[in-house]
Amino acid sequence: MAARKLAITGGRVIDPAQGIDRVADVLISDGKIESVTENSSGSAPAGYEQIDASGKIVSPGFVDLHTHLRDPGQEWKETIVTGTRAAAHGGFTTVCAMPNTDPVQDSAAVVTDVMRRAALAGTIRVLPIGSISVGQHGKQLAPMGELADAGVIGFSDDGHPVADPNLMRQALAYSVELGLPIINHAEDKKIGAGGVMSAGAVATRLGLAGVPAEAETVMVVRDLQLAELTRAHLHIPHISTMGSLVALRSAKERGVDVTAEVTPHHLTLNDEWVYGLKGEVPATVGSQAYDTNTKVNPPLRSRTDVDAVIEALSEGLIDIIATDHAPHATTDKVCTYNEAAHGINVLETAFSSVFQLVDAGKISVVRLIESLTAGPAAILRRDLGSLKKGFSADVAIIDPRRKWVVNPEQFESKSVNSPLAGVEFVGRVVTTIYQGETVFDLSGGAVGVNSGAKLGAKQ
């Protein structure tokens, strides 16, 4: 297997890390990138297996900085096996696993276990994130040095924002020596306590308690000030408000070491989706309303916020796209809106959903791919997200014209909690290569049918 030589020929190769955007061949051997040719020869060199990518886009495999694999502890929602398969089906070759597992990834023992099992049974690369505080309780710092030695790529208490400003300050200060980012879910839980969706006309109409955008913004402002104080690297996950962007811009101009991510859903969906009509605003509240698959934290925001994050991603103020893939079991979603769990199943729809922004002329395809590859790799400071010689041969091949209809029942993910069920997309990842091996290939197949090869776990 290690001797496989592969030539991906005739595709439009986009590798933003190298400034490459040309029709070329990508040559792979021994699981590493050998080269990206100057021109496409149209055929494979002798001894190379050929994948004809003409008419397609050849990108480095995507890197997701924000994934919930639910393993260990909630294996009925997702496992390392199903989550990494779902990732491969979405074009991802690296995912960073959030620490809100059970037990929490707050010790070398848990982190090592996740890495070991991922290496054994995962379809693609899993990099763990350690917690900031013991048990994500926000009281005492987790053994961050031990976690760093074990291989975590950053620290986060995920859905539990560090409320105590002094603990946040200490976490940031302590992380400097480790050279790893602090990723703090930015939300002041007291503003809009009890809220289940974004405050605004839709929440008012539906009688759902609203969380104002300011609940995020004030926390972003606090964290940026503390990052400036400590000269630490702050990474802001799933940024979603206009106010946060104003603060982010100002901090970046001051030279604060800050990066930010936005999710596919905050780029493409708004609070009107809670009406359950795929963004349409009905004259009357119908039985489709209170669509629990739209419940997510941060909540889906207003149209204005959505336009603002798209623009910020396009210009590079927001550095990257991360999925916040959050699988939940049916019982967590077939209930009232208040009872429903927060989170959207994203990995397998991520690229297609944001690719619609390219078609709409709101972002360039090169910038989009950068935000899924070179961008996250730069935050990780690892040799990933590019087709540079010697890098792991991780590749996503995209058919920009392929139509498909989202059917969560066909997800590789164990869960089906997507508000995009029934939505038609144009553009899809059709092949994913990890370390030179094909881990996903959507060969043939009718429109709307996910006929992707369900490749088993690597043994």
Binding site: A201, G207, T336
Partner: protein, 353 residues
Amino acid sequence: MANPTITVGNGNATEVIQTSGDKADANVTPRRHLLDLDDLSTKEITDLLDSAAGMLEITNRDVRKTPALRGKTIITMFFENSTRTRVSFEQAGKILGADVINVTASASSVSKGESLLNTVKTLQAMQIDALVVRHPHSGAPYFISNHTDASVVNAGDGTHAHPTQSLLDLFTVRTHVGDIAGKKIAIVGDVLYSRVARSDILAFQKMGAEVTVSCPNTLLPDEWQLGTTLDASTGFGGLKLARNVDDAVEGADVVMALRIQQERQDAGHLPSLREYSDRWGINAKRMALANDGALLMHPGPMNEGVEISSDVAHGAQSVVEEQVRNGVAVRMAVLYTLCAPGKSSRLSGGDEA
């Protein structure tokens, strides 16, 4: 569809009462649920009110019993404490001859044990005709309506809607003023958390009234600005947000005080109930600003001395007890409209919404 007139026993006599269904267009799919008033046409609302007038007459008889819904099973499922609404529905169902079963459960115990979905499916398996639901979570009746063939009546969901309260409020006002169109309605109280406020605003606006609300700014949605009139994008277009209570009440034909709860003070929405009473409480002095003969309403239960003073609560302008009485008639009209024989073919499952 045959004219759905019903035969009603009246002691030894038998009569035929006119119901909303008589005027229904034969092509219109029979209404299956009452979840809010937003999807009812003004005609549907008027028909329900007309039907309620007939029902009110039945409730005033010596023998308050008709066989109109004999053999029908209605379950009231209350996940929140309520005496008046539950009893009102129960009485409405019983007067119409239906078998009424009351289920009480707390939402928290349901979510910890049996899920709401399973509870509904279990009741569904017992071939019930209507589910009357009160639930602390907005949208719960919508959720339930997707998982049962029974008619679902929203008896109050979270902070979203309380359509039968609005119908009885419309009915009460109509009884006194005739045409609701053009009348000025002042609603004073906890708009942010009040399902009565939401449903009543929609209902009175739909019937052509001019609605003004007044409350502390902490009890308004953030996007609503005091002293303005809402535009259509809010879903409550035309609603006036008075700067203070006197502005709202002045010249009103109807003044409605809403219950203010201790939790609002505890959560920091209010300095104190005392200050609320002083600045927003409806009393004789404020009622004097309203039009002569203006009605004073309250959905109950009242905190006398807080949002409403005792003298006006029981004074000549108060129609609070009448609201309760009308509630039974309105709920009879609703249950009859949804459940009367020949309205749907639930057993064949042939009228999926």
